[in-house]
């Protein structure tokens, strides 16, 4: 009987990963790839995941698709508070979870409104601008309010997401000013993912 109890507790505390790791990983990556290629466009992401709250399924799909033992992962306080989140991510990706934001290749942020400054994360170096962090922000909705320009955008594109930091436009301007350094953002919300690479210019809509 004790064996059964142990099994039950194992399955109850660890949510499933991808049903098909190969195909689901590919689909989630493709969503992220198109999102960064076409800033502001919300790319559908099918994620049959039920990760522990407050991790949302779309953000979980991105992490499962992109992270492994090579990519230190940073969790914001809202996610770090919940041990099941770290256990879920560790089990399915093998990514080391770090407390120092500057060491992370990926950062998972459940409460973007209170997120730390972009400069807390790796910015890359002039010789290796790719050695910078990718921030995955969980959002509740994709709305309007912003205008994007830059590579990947035909002319100008309307975009918006909520919640975002109050000084988001100023932060994105400072991030863009560092180009080719800077962080790249993936915004994961209901049913989709949007990308804001460092190359994009964000203005008030």
């Amino acid at each position: 009987m004790s064996v059964t109890t142990a099994d039950t507790s194992l399955t109850s505390c660890l949510a499933n990963g991808f049903t098909d790791p190969v195909m689901d990983g590919q689909a989630s990556f493709r969503a992220a790839m198109w999102a960064l290629s076409r800033p502001g466009r919300v790319e559908p992401i099918v994620a049959n995941l039920t990760p522990p709250a407050p991790l949302n399924p779309e953000a979980a799909a991105l992490v499962l698709a992109l992270c492994d033992y090579e990519t230190p992962l940073w969790l914001d306080p809202a996610l770090a508070r919940v041990p099941e989140v770290a256990a879920f991510l560790r089990f399915h990706t093998g990514a080391p979870i770090v407390e120092n934001a500057a060491e992370a290749r990926f950062a998972l942020i459940a409460e973007p409104f209170d997120m730390p400054d972009f400069s807390d994360f790796a910015q890359g170096s002039p010789e290796f601008p790719d050695a910078s962090a990718t921030l995955i922000l969980q959002v509740e909705s994709f709305t309007g309010g912003l205008v994007l320009e830059g590579p990947g955008v035909k002319g100008r594109a309307a975009f918006g997401a909520a919640p975002l930091p109050a000084d988001f436009i100023a932060r994105m301007a400072a991030n863009h000013a560092l180009f080719p350094l800077g962080v790249d953002l993936l915004l994961a919300g209901p049913g989709g993912v949007a990308g804001l690479p460092r190359s994009v210019t964000v203005k008030e809509g």
Binding site: P21, M23, Q26, S37, R38, D130, G152
Partner: protein, 360 residues
């Protein structure tokens, strides 16, 4: 990799698209950073592939990383779907990924290419994957990786302009006809791979996503859709593409890139579309060139005896046809464009051998 016994013979099966999942994730992360910093060469841990360096190992790894089960794959080699390199890579993904393949540039969602951009305009949902031999545009000017990395970091591209200027001083015009350097999104100078400069204008503001993979050199770079790509030039020597005096001999297309096909040893030659899919499509639509009746086949077999300088022997399988005008074949200056375009004559001696020595 699993081996299943089927009737005594083991059947080898592979992970989807050959690569293991950790390798794919590593390549995918490099692709995302490449897209975020257009034109910057992201180092990646290129794997050995079941084909030699120079046969498209970089392009194959990028294709394997992006490919999904619903994709339709097209592979071209110098514009042709039916040459060895293209056929082999298409077969590789048919076997390892079981994806649908096509020769149609319209139906394809992923197009892997060696040295051409299709004549058919690309669409927003398409991904163009280039095979790249030497990703570093400054490599022949500065051999040290540490130095070229600094030059890119400082956006110090004076060296490249000096090279183009030396072309002008020596030949009276910019004699670079392929792998013509471009500036991407106003920042990085990038090698567009050895596409003819004829194709450079198609890089600019392209609706498709363009990914570049260099396997031996272990670099991935990208041009996102709708990105400004400018071919380097001077105010008094603006960038110009090759022009051709005659239309395609098979489909009468003008404004396309033509290959020279030697017909005999008496100077007979024809010029046909390098893009076989485009040429076939036009012929099916009823367009007829001046030799479409005379030629026994729309895809002439490789002429023998070409490449007296040995250049043909250096090229990978897949060069089914000789180089087009502007690249020059064994230094033969009698290309149709040599009369009108100064760009072809000057580069003729170097075009073929230089390209043959470092195939992607």
């Amino acid at each position: 990799m699993n081996a299943h016994a089927v009737g005594g013979m083991p059947e080898i099966t592979y992970n989807f698209a050959y690569l293991d999942e950790q390798t794919k994730r590593m390549i995918r992360r490099a692709i995302l950073k490449a897209i975020a910093v257009p034109g910057y060469q992201v180092p990646f841990a290129a794997r050995e592939m079941p084909m030699p360096y120079g046969w498209g190992t970089g392009g194959v790894q990028v294709t394997a990383a992006v490919l999904g089960p619903k994709d339709v794959l097209k592979v071209i080699d110098q514009g042709a779907d039916d040459t060895t390199n293209a056929v082999a890579i298409r077969g590789f993904f048919e076997k390892t990924a079981r994806v649908a393949t096509t020769t149609s540039a319209v139906e394809a969602t992923v197009i892997q290419t060696r040295h051409r951009i299709p004549e058919t305009p690309l669409a927003e949902h398409q991904i163009l994957v280039y095979q790249v031999p030497i990703p570093e545009p400054l490599r022949f000017l500065e051999p040290r990786e540490t130095e070229t990395r600094q030059l890119h970091a400082l956006a110090e591209y004076g060296l490249m302009h000096v090279k183009l200027y030396e072309d002008i001083a020596r030949h009276g015009h910019i004699a670079t006809t392929y792998a013509y350097p471009v500036e991407v999104a106003g920042r990085y100078v990038m090698d567009p791979s050895p596409i003819p400069k004829f194709d450079n204008p198609k890089l600019d503001d392209c609706p498709a996503l363009q990914l570049f993979g260099a396997g031996r050199e272990k670099r991935i770079y990208a041009i996102p859709p709708y990105t400004k790509v400018r071919s380097l030039d001077f105010e008094d020597h603006p960038f110009k593409v090759q022009r051709f005096a005659k239309p395609c001999a098979l489909c009468a297309a003008t404004g396309v890139y033509l290959d020279e096909v030697i017909l005999d040893d008496k100077g007979g030659r024809m010029f046909v579309c390098s893009d076989t899919d485009y040429c076939n499509g036009r012929q099916e639509a009823g367009h007829r060139g001046e030799m479409s009746g005379a030629s026994p086949s729309p895809q002439p077999s490789p002429p023998r005896g070409e490449g007296a300088d040995g250049a043909l022997n250096l090229s990978p399988p897949g060069r089914g046809r000789p180089e087009g005008p502007g690249e020059g074949t064994s230094g033969v200056p009698t290309t149709p464009s040599s009369a009108g375009d100064p760009g072809s004559a000057g580069a003729a001696p170097s075009g073929m051998t230089g390209q043959g020595s470092h195939q992607p």
